[in-house]
C-alpha cells in the first residue's frame, strides 16, 4: 500500500500542471494578504472594517484554486493521451497494468491527493494567518486551532470534490469550470441561497461554515455539522466515481 501511495505521489508531483496548482494554492493567499495590507490597515483605522475575527481565514479562500487544480489533474492526467500521435495511448493503461486492482489504485490515488493537499493547506494557512498576525496583530485575534483545522479540512475536501467530479466526467474542463466559477466573490451557490435555504447545504457553502463565523449565511450551521455535511457530499460523489471507475472500460 505504501509503495502504491508513493507511486501515486510521484506521479502527481511530476505533472507540470500539478506543480502550478501547488504554487498557486500555496502562494496566492499569503500574497493577497501582503498586497492588501495597506488597504486593510486603512480600513481598520477608518473603522469601516469592524469585524476582523475572520480576516486571515477569509483571505485563505483565494488559494482554493490550488486544491481544485490538484484534484482535477490527479484524474484527468490519466485520461489525456501520452502522445499526440498515439490515439488511445493513455497513462491509465500503464497505471492499470501496474496496479490492476482498481479499488486499491483509487485508494492509493486518493491518499496521495489528501496528503499533498493537506500539506499544502497547512503551509498556506500558516503563512496566511501568520502574516495576518504580523501585519494586523493588534486588531485581529489569533484564530482558534479548531477553526484552522476546519480550513485545512475544507481545502482537502474541496480537492476531493474536484477529484470525484473528474472521476465521473473523465474530463478536466467541466469540474474545473464549475468549481472555479463557484469560487468567485459572489458564487453561484451563494446566489442560490437567496432563492432557497436548501442551497445552504451545497458543499462549498456549508463547508465554509466550518471556519468562518460571521457571514450572512441564511441558515447558520454548527461547524461540526457543517464538516459532516460537506464530508457526506464528498463521500457520495467519491462513491459514485469509484463505482463508475470500477465498471467502465479503461
Amino acid at each position: 500500500m505504501v509503495s502504491r501511495v508513493r507511486a501515486e505521489l510521484r506521479k502527481l508531483l511530476g505533472l507540470p500542471t500539478a506543480r502550478v496548482g501547488l504554487v498557486l494554492g500555496t502562494l496566492t493567499a499569503p500574497a493577497i494578504v501582503l498586497l492588501n495590507a495597506p488597504y486593510t490597515r486603512r480600513a481598520i483605522a477608518a473603522g469601516t472594517l469592524t469585524d476582523t475575527s475572520d480576516l486571515g481565514l477569509r483571505d485563505l479562500g483565494v488559494g482554493l484554486i490550488g486544491p481544485m487544480v490538484l484534484g482535477v489533474i490527479a484524474v484527468s492526467s490519466e485520461y489525456t493521451s501520452t502522445s499526440q500521435h498515439a490515439p488511445g495511448a493513455r497513462q491509465l493503461t500503464a497505471t492499470l497494468t501496474a496496479v490492476p486492482d482498481r479499488l486499491r489504485l483509487l485508494v492509493a490515488k486518493t491518499a496521495a491527493l489528501v496528503l499533498v493537499v493537506a500539506a499544502q493547506a497547512a503551509v498556506a494557512a500558516t503563512a496566511t494567518l501568520g502574516l495576518t498576525q504580523v501585519l494586523h496583530g493588534d486588531h485581529v485575534p489569533v484564530p482558534a486551532p479548531a477553526r484552522v483545522a476546519g480550513a485545512i479540512l475544507y481545502w482537502t475536501l474541496t480537492a476531493l470534490l474536484a477529484y470525484a467530479i473528474t472521476l465521473i466526467t473523465r474530463n478536466g474542463i467541466v469540474p474545473l469550470t464549475l468549481l472555479v466559477i463557484n469560487s468567485t466573490v459572489v458564487s453561484v451557490s451563494y446566489l442560490l441561497t437567496k432563492i432557497t435555504d436548501l442551497a445552504s447545504y451545497l458543499p462549498d457553502i456549508v463547508g465554509a461554515q466550518m471556519f468562518i463565523r460571521d457571514a450572512d449565511f441564511p441558515v447558520e450551521i454548527a461547524p461540526l455539522t457543517a464538516g459532516l455535511v460537506m464530508t457526506a457530499w464528498v463521500a457520495v460523489l467519491l462513491a459514485i466515481g469509484a463505482v463508475l471507475f470500477q465498471r467502465r472500460d479503461a
Binding site: 500521435h85 490515439p87 488511445g88
Partner: protein, 237 residues
Amino acid sequence: MITVDRVSKTRSRTRILHDVTFEARPGRVTGFLGPNGAGKTSTLRILLGLDRPESGAALICGRPYRKLDRPLTTIGALLDGSGAHRARTARAHLRWVAASNGLPDSRADEVLEIVGLTGDARKRAGRFSLGMSRRLGLATALLGDPEVLVLDEPVNGLDPVGIRWMREFLRNSAAQGRTVLLSSHLMSELAEIADDVIVIDKGRIVARGSLAEVTGDHRTLEDAFFALTATEAVRPW
C-alpha cells in the same frame, strides 16, 4: 520530384541534421533508412513545411511546401497517427480536409474505398485501432490524388495483410509515375519495395543510390546498413 538540399537543423542546442542532401525521383520508390533518432522524421517534417530548416531547402516539384497551391493535389503525406481528431467520424474528417483544398466531398468516400474503410466511415477516429488509424491517415494523403507520396514508417501498426497491401499499393503508385518517398527502420521491408535507398545516421546522409549500389558487396541491405552506420559511429567527422 523531391529535392532536399543541404538541410540543417538544431534542436535544443543539438545539431540533429547536418547538410542533408538527397533526391527522390518520379516513377521510383525511394527508401529513407536509418536507426531510431537518426533524423528521418525531422527531415520529413521539414520537407512538409511543419518545421523550419535552419539552413538549406527542401523542395517538392521545385517549390517549398509552404508555397504550394492546394498542396494536397501535389503531395500526400502520412505521418505518425491518423491526423484526425478523435471525436470526428472518418468521413467528417476527410470532408473537411477535402474542402480545404477545393476537392469534392465525393473524394472522401472514394479514398475510404481505396484503403478499405468504407464500412467504418461513420465511426469516430478515436475508436479506430492502430491499423485503421494508419489507413485513415493514408486515405487523407490520397485525397488530392497527388503525384508525390511521402510516408513516415508506413507499415508501423499494420497487420501482415495490411503490410502486403501497402507494399503493392506503393509499387503500383511508382509504376504509375508517382514519386514515393518512405522512411523506415525495417530494412528487410525496405529491401522488398525500394528502388533507391538513402541511409541517414546521426543526422548525416551516409549512403545514397540504387538498392544494388547501397547494398554493394554486402549480402543484404541489412549487412550494408550495419557496416555503414557502425563505421560512421567510430570515425569522427
